[in-house]
Amino acid sequence: MIANTHTSVTSGETRARRSFYWRYMVEPYFYLSPALILIGVVMLVPLIVGISYSFQSIALLKPFDTGWVGLENYAALWDDRKFWLALENTFRWTIGSLSLQFLLGLGLALLLNTQFRGKRLFQALVFLPWAVPTFLSALTWAWLFNPVIGPLPHWLHDLGLLSEPYNILGDPDLAIWGPITANVWFGVPFFAITLLAALQSIPSELYEAAEMDGASAWQCFTKITLPFLAPMIAITVMLRTIWIANFADMIYVMTGGGPANSTQILSSYIFTTAFRKLDFGYASAIAVALLGLLLIYAVILLFVRQKLVKV
């Protein structure tokens, strides 16, 4: 539109073209370019560099041993028992956290969709864990599981779940449940918020009509609520799976992947390899493997979604 004022002397045709270029090629990019440049420089370029690292030997502790090594890192990965264990743990961690977060989040959303006294305060309080920084959630739960200062081992012992009040974070069989609990605590509000918004978009006439026809609460839930929520549930679960699989903070802070790698997931394995061992080549190879798995997962999901949801 400003272009019009500048080009008022030129012929109508050129004016239209310049205005067209301005409007579709230049002006939007004036607003976009800072964002694009930063994303490009800080995320996309390092992403490509990172993929190239996976074909090199780059370990800061062995500075004279750098260079292209082809698929050597991947070959080492294939023989790495820790890698396969981490892969298995990634599934346990993701499925365990996701299903519990989802079920508790759905319950909370349904609860918040009804009326009761003090609901606003209740809502503010139950969403609070979401505001707690992740490193602090992890530390808090690590302390709660500590028998010296935390009550949880004693309660689990009283319930007969533990033979004696010890720290489950030190037990290879149970340790993964520590970070999962912390992750569930932290993630329930997110699911509740998303599902609550979806719940509120269901037209209330549907429930009124169903009630008039004598439908029970359970029938209303399975015949109206769930079908309406399904698309939102599908999208949220899809995105959240990827996010949780990538989420290493909880595990790194609570157990550091131990004891005996029993809680190491792929993303925390990437971090410990890069941060502790400073072996950037091998860390990048694990990262590429994780990226590949996530891509396969996304493709399968898009395929399933196309089959299920007819838009």
Binding site: M1, Y24, M25, P28, Y31, L32, A35, L36, L38, I39, V42, M43, L44, V45, P46, L47, G50, I58, L104, G107, L108, L111, F122, A124, L125, V126, F127, L128, P129, W130, A131, V132, P133, L136, L139, T140, W141, L144, V148, I149, G150, H154, W185, P189, I193, T194, A197, Q200, T236, L239, R240, A245, D249, F271, A274, F280, A283, A287, V288, L294
Partner: protein, 280 residues
């Protein structure tokens, strides 16, 4: 579903039980953090697992504040988080505005790229970023953290800002442009004042995200005087792992800024998260 029409006693009891359960689950860990922080050191081992301490003290807080480096960690985190929030919000407002008001070639691709940046494992770029930043000699600097965090948060903040701009009728700025404003003037004088709440919410989201980032900060910062709060706290924990009271007092302090921002953005939670992108 009106509850007044059917007051099933079983249902009401179940509901109260559910309310109690969710409240306890959400608040108990935070209560415990506060409780240990307030318990005097000599009582921690004798009544560490009691529900309430028999006496309370603020000495843990004072020693954390005045005898350790936490005040400096706190300051560093504040600089990084405020810097990231301010820069990200300005840049994301521009990008969100472009998405909301323009149709242009390459728009779909750019949106797709932004979505993909939310999907791939961020840890994948931790090694390249370390190398790049080291080559510029910017390791252990707060500005490097601000740049990195800004880039990480731009996609989500952009989608959030776009949803706020979408909520403002185009007629307003078109009227201003009829009156002779350029688009940029219209944006500055008409649209921005109307998006102030949205800008505030975006600031809050980005601030909390930057405040809690740990892994990149661990990688890029190793000197004590530029450590952010998470890195400082973790270092403290691994060094003095028996100073329970002080560690938890530090934890409570780390909670304060996030909680303040959280109270502030409460109102926008449902609105912003659902109309924007989906992210933790």
């Amino acid at each position: 579903m009106s509850d007044t029409t059917r007051r099933n006693p079983m249902l009401m009891m179940g509901k109260s039980a559910a309310i109690t359960f969710y409240l306890t689950f959400a608040l108990f860990p935070l209560y415990w953090l506060l409780k240990i922080a307030l318990t005097p050191d000599r009582l921690i081992f004798t009544e560490g697992t009691n529900l309430a301490p028999s006496e309370i003290t603020f000495s843990n807080f004072t020693s954390v504040l005045f005898k350790t480096d936490f005040l400096s960690y706190f300051g560093n985190s504040l600089i990084v988080s405020l810097g990231t929030a301010a820069v990200t919000t300005v840049i994301a407002a521009g990008a969100g505005y472009a998405f909301s008001r323009f149709h242009f070639s390459g728009k779909k691709i750019i949106i797709a790229v932004m979505l993909i940046t939310q999907m791939f494992p961020l840890l994948m770029i931790i090694a390249p970023i370390y190398k790049i930043i080291a080559s510029f000699g910017l390791l252990n600097s707060l500005s490097s953290l601000i740049i990195v965090y800004t880039a990480f948060n731009i996609p989500f903040a952009t989608f959030l800002m776009q949803s706020f701009f979408d909520g403002i009728p185009r007629d307003l700025e078109e009227a201003a442009m009829m009156e002779g404003c350029t688009r940029f003037q219209a944006l500055r004088k008409v649209v921005i004042p109307l998006t102030l709440p949205g800008l505030g919410a975006t600031l809050g989201f980005v601030f909390t995200a930057a405040w809690s980032e740990l892994l990149f900060a661990l990688m890029l910062i190793s000197k004590n005087d530029t450590m952010t709060f998470p890195v400082g706290l973790l270092t403290f924990v691994s060094k003095f792992s028996v100073d329970w009271g002080q560690m938890m007092a530090a934890g409570v302090l780390a909670l304060i800024p996030s909680c303040l921002f959280f109270i502030f953005i409460q109102r926008y939670l449902v609105q912003g998260l659902t109309s924007g992108a989906v992210k933790g």
